[in-house]
């Protein structure tokens, strides 16, 4: 699954540590989600959406096979 986390984070001038703290996850987790290596759970995806005040589907989108 791809995402726009890096862009959204950069727009707000946040570091990965800032994002990790806001989501209450480790920096490793924030980095893995941002790079698309790890798909977050639905609760975490909604938490991310709330943080950026955007719908989930505007942050995460399907990676076609």
């Amino acid at each position: 699954m791809k995402n726009r986390l890096k862009v959204l984070r950069a727009e707000r001038d946040w570091t990965q540590a800032d994002l990790a703290n806001a989501l209450d996850v480790s920096r490793q987790t924030a980095n893995a989600i941002e790079k698309g290596k790890f798909d977050p759970s639905l609760p975490l995806a909604f938490k991310i959406a709330r943080l950026f005040t955007l719908p989930v589907e505007e942050i995460f989108f399907d990676d076609p096979p």
Binding site: D18, N21, V25, S26, R27, Q28, T29, A32, K37, F38
Partner: protein, 140 residues
């Protein structure tokens, strides 16, 4: 986002506390294992009453260690939990398959000594460490 350093410190402190508690209970359980084994031989000369007390203590510490481990798992974030659970899953599989195969070795006369549980525990510990390292590397 100005207090991110402060939050990160609190988060790290919480993780350190959990890790410390887990290490402490694991150490207590390992010590009770040694106490049970060597206490019977060198301290109370295999008197059943003392052995039973030591055994109950050992089992109680083991139960406490499991509970602390469960608490530790619930306190870490979902990626860390996945890495840990994957490592545990691989360790369980390796332990089961290698354990049964190892036990058969003597039956089918491929080894002359009796298989020891210690060897299996060492294999499982090494497997868990390697699986955790690989998991962390994968999600870096």
């Amino acid at each position: 986002m100005t207090d991110s350093k402060h939050n990160e410190t609190i988060c790290t402190q919480q993780n350190n506390t959990n890790n410390f508690q887990l290490a402490l209970w694991t150490l207590a359980w390992v010590a009770s294992t040694a106490f049970l084994r060597f206490g019977a031989e060198y301290i109370w000369d295999y008197q059943a009453a003392y052995s039973i007390i030591a055994l109950i203590t050992h089992l109680a510490l083991g139960a406490a260690m499991i509970m602390v481990n469960v608490k530790h798992l619930s306190n870490i974030d979902e990626l860390q939990r996945k890495i840990t659970m994957d490592a545990m899953c691989i360790t369980l599989g390796v332990g089961l398959i290698a354990g049964i195969a190892y036990e058969q070795l003597e039956d089918i006369k491929l080894i002359t000594f009796e298989p020891e549980i210690n060897h299996l525990i060492m294999l499982m510990a090494i497997t868990y460490i390697i699986a955790t390292l690989i998991g962390n590397k994968k999600y870096q």
